[in-house]
């Protein structure tokens, strides 16, 4: 699904990702933990196809890849519902019953049901991230890249949403960048642990303990 081979990224003469290699097979769900400034967000940008300035190779066989960035990235002039359906609209995907059912479930889980007609400026940071998450999942991705998407949410919301992803999207391949250790076992099965202040070949791939209901 995703293959990173000898990836190196340098910014202003400083190597922030050094000879990184790993593979994600279909259906694998992996967390990535590393110190702040180690290049995690840079990696997500590269894997998203937004940053081409690197050496090494990134191979991808995903049919549909989406990224949840650190910032929710909602259009300020669109309502929550319009933001959520935006990717479907620009890709010419018609709203099927299945999508609408998924939408209703997501709106209930995230507590956004009453805020569908709100503009982003009327939402809290956590609600904006929730809307971005619904938008990402409704596109029907088989690979999802997440860069700290839960950081503005309270614990109860985080847990509820992660349980929904785990139960509703068991086949999805997922790479989650996070600092929260409690998130990792709830939504992913493995962890890439980087101890140095840099993403490099020096990391451990650890199995995570199962969480109830996992």
């Amino acid at each position: 699904m995703l293959s990173v081979s000898h990836l190196t990224k340098t910014i202003h003469g400083r190597t922030i990702i050094d000879d990184l290699s790993f593979t994600l097979y279909p259906g694998e769900r992996v967390s990535l933990s590393a110190p702040t400034g180690a290049g995690k967000s840079s990696l997500i940008h590269i894997l998203s196809g937004l940053d081409k300035a690197f050496t090494g190779t990134v191979g991808m066989t995903a049919r549909a890849r989406v990224t949840l960035f650190q910032e929710p990235g909602l259009f300020w002039y669109k309502t929550v519902a319009q933001n959520i359906f935006y990717p479907l609209k620009i890709n010419g995907i018609t709203l099927s019953n299945d999508i609408l059912q998924q939408y209703d479930r997501w709106m209930a889980v995230t507590g956004l049901a009453g805020a569908a007609d709100y503009y982003p400026h009327a939402l809290s940071g956590g609600m904006k991230h929730k809307a971005a998450m619904v938008r990402a999942f409704l596109t029907g991705p088989d690979l999802i890249l997440m860069d700290e998407p839960f950081r503005s949410m309270d614990l109860a919301s985080r847990t509820q949403i992660m349980d929904h992803i785990r139960a509703g999207y068991p086949e999805i391949t997922l790479l989650l960048v996070t600092h929260h250790l409690d998130e990792m076992p709830r939504i992913t099965r493995q962890m890439l642990l980087f101890k140095e202040n840099q993403l490099s070949s020096d990391f451990e791939r650890l199995d995570l303990p199962a969480v109830a209901g996992k």
Binding site: G49, F69, Y77, Y86, N91, Y119, H121
Partner: protein, 253 residues
């Protein structure tokens, strides 16, 4: 009340300027003879005779020039701003446009008078020449303040340049368009007065000049009052149009 504030908040400075002008005028009238600074009450009392057919005709001529010059400037300035951003030549274009901005309007007015003679062409050209650079530079600079997060979102959902343009760049231009329209119209009003003052035989600027020559200070103050009221009206009308049609594109306070 909230909706009322949406309309009037942006014009509160102009309203304040209007009342400040009235206050200063009133104070000055206490210290000067009425034939130099007539009191506001005297001018208001003579409104009937000042608002005559000649005035209305010249007001219409000035408004026509203002709206023509402003319309051309807005379209031209916005187009130049978008093109210079798209072609990555904003810095070069800005340098060229600033050259136009540093030329005093009076000199340009005389040049246009010599080129086009007395009439509407000189004031309209003056508006276009002096307002377009401001609008173009403001447009280009707004487009250069990129939103990398939303660009990333659009591109990550397979959106191309068309989507970037229609869903991000053009909507983010609306606040700048509002500033351009408001400031551009006020600039157009000031410039047309200057143009008519030096290069026309009609319009409010011409009437102002004539009133000054004949030392008709009641008329002079009346025309100044009209100019201030016009500015206020322009701002209220433009603000209303943006609130009604483009409110969602304006960044929330």
């Amino acid at each position: 009340m909230k909706h009322l504030m949406l309309f009037f908040k942006p014009v509160q400075n102009s309203l304040a300027a209007f009342f400040l002008f009235m206050g200063i005028w009133f104070l000055l009238s206490l210290f000067f003879d009425p034939y130099i600074v007539p009191p506001p009450a005297a001018v208001i009392k003579n409104l009937d005779s000042l608002c005559n057919g000649v005035f209305m005709e010249n007001l219409g001529i000035s408004l026509g020039r203002i709206l023509t010059g402003f319309g051309v400037s807005l379209v031209l300035g916005t187009a130049i701003g978008i093109v210079s951003f798209t072609l990555h030549i904003t810095a070069t274009v800005e340098t060229l446009l600033v050259l136009f901005q540093v030329i005093p309007g009076l000199i340009l007015g005389i040049v246009f008078l010599l080129m086009f003679g007395v009439g509407s062409a000189a004031p309209v050209c003056l508006i276009v020449t002096l307002s377009t650079p401001f609008i173009a530079i403001n447009t280009a600079n707004t487009l250069m303040k990129r939103n990398p997060v939303l660009e990333g979102v659009i591109r990550s959902f397979n959106g191309g340049f068309f989507h970037l343009l229609t869903d991000l760049y053009l909507p983010s231009l609306v606040p700048a368009l509002k500033t351009n329209a408001t400031q551009g119209l006020v600039m157009a009003l000031k410039i047309v007065l200057l143009g008519e003052f030096i290069a026309s035989d009609n319009g409010i600027g011409y009437l102002l000049n004539a009133a000054k020559i004949y030392f008709n200070m009641e008329a002079v103050f009346f025309y100044l009052l009209v100019v201030l009221l016009l500015m206020l009206c322009f701002q209220v009308v433009l603000n209303s149009l943006f609130v009604i049609f483009f409110q969602k594109y304006l960044y929330p306070d």
